[in-house]
């Protein structure tokens, strides 16, 4: 597409583009470019997960494969991919196309999958809780064996906790439908012979324990993954236009991430997890995912023989330490030999370190999983709206009417985007080197509607655009002449270079949760004049709490539409 100086406005341009698509004269070039970028981003992000940057001074730097922090990165990557996918879907799509085959079917399949992912999120979150139970037992072990010199009493105490810990973590998936909750056991076979009543009583308690699991009794994580994979067919050549590919890719990403979470964290009923999910090898983006899948698969096979709670690195190490500490405890005789007690002390120190890492990492991980839950719910809502909308516009209309309808759809979409996201700040990396290029770029962008400010940092080749703008629009304008990459997209009002800015993203989320009445929350003081009913106030307070809650998260999940280039570490600050 040649660059013309007089670009029509955003709406005009989009509606022209839509009409062209309807007229089967689609702008495939743009589409393909978008698709390629999307694929590359996914590939890059997962590549980083597969081989983390080499700064491994210590073997257990806490960043290693399948560690808690690795999982958190994985979840982050998912959130990024999802944001990009949704951006592509909602901004770059044509509602009438979405509601037509094959997209309508693919999207509703995708939505089905998303609902299933929600259950997995809940189950995994419950799994994290059960890991925390083990962590508490391990803490008992640590506090018992930390004392010096170690006496019989401490060893007994530790042993009790250890055996509870081992039995809690060693779950045989095939026999137990649910991970056993770590429970303190009686120190002796109490009253095993006298009263049946007591026995019954305890049996009852045993069966109640399963109730506290978050998911239904006959629910199976493996089956859930399996059913997420059903209908997940490689798009055929004829179909793979427009959004078909992204939907397919995102489905795979979602299934993979859920699969990895289930593999890493104890979940109800996981037998046969390995067999359920295959990604076709022919796609470029899939290589890294397949690589990771194989790696996890190997681990899984290793573990399956032993019957393990999960592949989470910390859990595995905890188990291993638990085993050897139990051996130590079994062979313990007072006073302990120096060599043995030194060895045990090292192990206890390691266990303590793992506990520490769990203490720091599990809660944020749980919060991130919760964020995934929220995100999926939100996206599902938006896509369903889009689908419904498309259907409505399509019904009983002639072709001509369809054209106008599509145009109005876009008109409708635009305010939605603006209303949803408010003023946006888009930071782009531009490949240009002189002032002429800078001028040209700024001129091209300034033609867009809704721009508040443009600034260019030549040193870092960064262009920052603020306003009620569609990021895709900005990029596609620039991409005609320069290599352009989106560094970040986010709400415009941010404290610069501050961790707090990520919380701003949260604020944005909260607002959306709160629906349309959310606007007055941002500056409560200023807008007090507006009528506010008690409920709204209550909601505002709650949302403030909600924000605080995320403030305490030392590793805040990245928000929405934050799109990161391949060169950047996905965990780096979004602005700098």
């Amino acid at each position: 597409m040649p660059a013309t100086e007089n670009q029509p406005s955003f709406l005009g341009r989009i509606s022209i583009r839509r009409n062209q698509i309807i007229a089967m004269d689609g702008n495939h070039e743009q589409e393909l470019e978008d698709l390629e970028l999307f694929q590359r981003h996914i590939g890059d992000r997962f590549a980083e997960l597969l081989s983390p940057p080499d700064n491994q001074d210590s073997p257990f730097s806490g960043e290693s494969f399948l560690s808690i922090s690795w999982l958190r990165k994985l979840v982050d990557v998912f959130l990024c991919c999802e944001a990009e996918f949704k951006a592509a879907l909602i901004m770059g799509s044509d509602p009438s196309q979405i509601s037509k085959p094959p997209l309508d079917r693919l999207l509703s399949d995708y939505m089905e999958r998303a609902v299933k992912a929600l259950d997995i999120c809940n189950a995994v979150s419950g799994g994290v809780d059960s890991i925390r139970e083990c962590q508490k037992l391990a803490e008992i072990v640590v506090s018992a064996l930390e004392q010096k010199p170690i006496g019989d009493g401490q060893v007994k105490r530790a042993k009790k906790a250890l055996s509870a810990m081992i039995s809690a973590s060693a779950i045989d998936d095939k026999e137990n439908n649910h991970p056993r909750y770590a429970e303190r056991t009686w120190s002796f076979g109490r009253r095993g012979n006298n009263s049946g009543g007591n026995h019954k009583d305890r049996a009852n308690h045993g069966s109640f324990r399963s109730l506290s699991m978050v998911v239904a009794k006959n629910w199976s994580a493996a089956k859930q993954i399996q059913s997420m994979c059903s209908n997940l067919a490689v798009p055929r050549g004829g179909e793979s236009t427009g959004l078909v590919q992204p939907v397919y890719i995102m489905s795979n990403v979602m299934v993979f991430v859920m699969w990895a979470l289930v593999a890493a964290i104890p979940c109800q009923e996981r037998s046969g997890l390995l067999t359920h999910f295959q990604i076709p090898k022919q796609f470029g983006w899939a290589h890294t995912i397949i690589g990771m899948q194989e790696k996890i698969g190997e681990e899984w096979k290793k573990k399956e023989k032993k019957g393990s709670a999960g592949l989470l690195e910390e859990v595995q190490r905890m188990e291993k330490l638990g085993q050897s500490l139990i051996e130590f405890a079994d062979g313990f005789q007072f006073p302990a030999e120096d060599e043995k007690s030194e060895e045990a002390a090292a192990q206890v120190a390691e266990l303590a370190e793992i506990c520490q890492r769990m203490e720091e990492g599990l809660l944020p991980l749980q919060q991130q999983i919760r964020e995934v839950f929220h995100r999926i719910v939100r996206s599902r809502r938006e896509v369903l709206d889009l689908l419904d909308h498309g259907k409505g516009e399509e019904s009983s209309k002639t072709r001509q009417e369809l054209l106008t309808a599509a145009a109005t759809c876009v008109c409708h979409l635009y305010p939605t985007w603006a209303a949803l996201h408010g003023s946006q700040k888009v930071v782009l990396k531009l490949d240009l080197h002189d002032d002429r290029g800078k001028q040209k770029a700024m001129k091209a962008v300034s033609g867009l509607q809704g721009i508040d400010s443009i600034s260019m940092d030549m040193k870092e080749q960064k262009l920052t655009v603020v306003g009620d703008i569609d990021p895709v629009d900005v990029v596609s304008k620039l991409r005609k002449n320069w290599h352009t990459e989106i560094l970040t997209v986010g709400p415009a009002k941010e404290e610069k270079k501050d961790e707090g800015k990520k919380d701003d993203g949260k604020k944005d989320d909260g607002k959306k949760d709160d629906g349309k009445k959310g606007d007055d929350k941002k500056d409560e003081g200023k807008k007090d004049g507006e009528k506010k009913n008690p409920n709204e106030q209550q909601m505002a307070e709650l949302m403030a709490l909600y924000k605080n809650y995320y403030n305490y998260n030392p590793y805040p999940p990245q928000y929405h539409y934050r799109v990161i280039s391949s060169e950047e570490n996905p965990n780096a600050c979004a602005i700098c």
Binding site: D201, N204, H205, L211, Q366, T408, H412, D513, D514, L545
Partner: protein, 636 residues
Amino acid sequence: MEPPENYSTSAFAVPFEDAKKIILRWDSTASDEARERMIFDGDREEVDLYLQAVDEIQKSMSSTSISPPSSSHHHDQDNNSNKVNSAMQIAMARLEDEFRNILISNTSPVEVDSLLISDHALAPASSLNRNTSSVRSGNEFDQEEVGGGGDHVDALDPIQRADSSNSSASYRSTSSIREIHLIPQEAVADLQSIAKRMISAGYLRECIQVYGSVRKSAVDASFRRLRIEKLSIGDIQRLEWEALETKIRRWIRAAKVCVRILFASEKKLCEDIFYGIGTAIDDACFMETVKGPAIQLFNFAEAISISRRSPEKMFKILDLHDALMDLLPDIEVVFESKSADSIRVQAAEILSRLAEAARGILSEFENAVLREPSRVPVPGGTIHPLTRYVMNYISLISDYKQTLIELIVSKPSTGSRYSGDPTTPDMEFAELEGKTPLALHLIWIIVILQFNLEGKSKHYKDASLAHLFIMNNVHYIVQKIKGSPELREMIGDDYLRKLTGKFRQAATSYQRATWVSVLYCLRDEGLHVRGSFSSGVSKSALRERFKTFNAMFEEVHRTQATWLIPDSQLREELRISVSEKLIPAYRSFLGRFRSHIESGKHPENYIKYSVEDLESAVLDFFEGYPVSQHLRRRSQ
């Protein structure tokens, strides 16, 4: 029974060696007797003795750890401290078991049913099943659970009925947190004295875990009695809505009991037992107990809040929203601690999601009304099922006014978005200044409904019937609005007047469409023949006129008798209005020209009907029944 508080006063204190003996005597791994009996089940003296022994051990332990290890006595010292440690561990293991035993044997199922029924009566602690025999309580458990609770259902039913018969108001109850004693006070004192010792010996984690596991089971048991189910989100998406409605109703009741009674009482129990021991221990125990159950409880509401939106779900979702809104202050109180953040946040999120769902459903409903596709005209031009459905729905919405006014804060999405689009109606908001967004939505729905009906009316081949159809339906809308004071207040008299005007207009249009051509036969023009002798009236033309009139009237009578105006008053009015035009015209026409016909041959062929015949024939109109093939002839 307070345990001896001061460890140091040795007046009662047991000497160390004796203390060790007592501890070892109760070492459950050592003797059968120790295994069989629980200290706290037996003699209080024994209890005191044991607790003192533990204190003594603890005292000597702290003294051994303080004294510096001298090289000469190194081995001795170590050995000694090992023995103390060992005794301590045995004592703690014992206390842990005692703690568990007291908890279990005093945990009787909360009588949820009585809580449900006597919602306002303050349940005294004695209402609790206080039997300390764990045997019996265990059996009771079984019977309750295995029996599926036949009387359980009966106990629930009356409330269920009461609830469903009441309107939404019943969910806005004002009752609030009510704590009950889950465990008798003496047992709490025992637990406290054990907890103190375990915690001061550094066995805090063990204590929390034992406490959590026993109490969690108790909470789970109560959950079962409240029939709180575990359903995955997928399950809930698959369930029939009717089934979900029942579950929602049950959940609302259960959630109230859970938050206000169960959780609150658990919290109280933790505070009682761990009062004055360390900081935040009570909170840790509380969270250990209820975190899982609370998440399980809220998961259901969450799943409902994200289920697919469809109009029929509106009112149950509003019920759920109201109930949760109502509970929120109590949730804030019960889960006030920092560690319970996530639960508070989740509740708030669900609430806002439910609000969002209600908003979404309303706009979904608007879309559905706009797009309702049926094209088959209802026979007789009567009220369309859609009209009935929409108006009943709207009246229900007005019943939920209180909540919806808070939730619906934006105007309907019309106007600019649809301008220029012929497939959607437009609405002038300017003249509806000062109305709440909810009222605007209701008006908008009525606008859309009319728009849809207009479209449907085009499918009638007979234009008169199309007008009658519109008249009937708009009249129904007006009647419905008038019938509900809430609705009337929101819609406002201005718009009501507009609607009234609209159906009157339709009535007029009907009359014009049907009767202008009939009455046209009764005009004078064209009958008078110029230059003729005989009174200037063309007999043949006159005969033709009468014949045409008869044929037309018969046809109208035949068809329009099958049309239906369900509202008797409206039917009467329209008939009168028809008669007022038809009868005088016919009477005068007859008066003027009867003589001409009667003077000729076969007058009965031309003047078939008397004025009275027509008057009675009009009474057949709009009854919805086909009449006999021929009009009743004038009496001969």
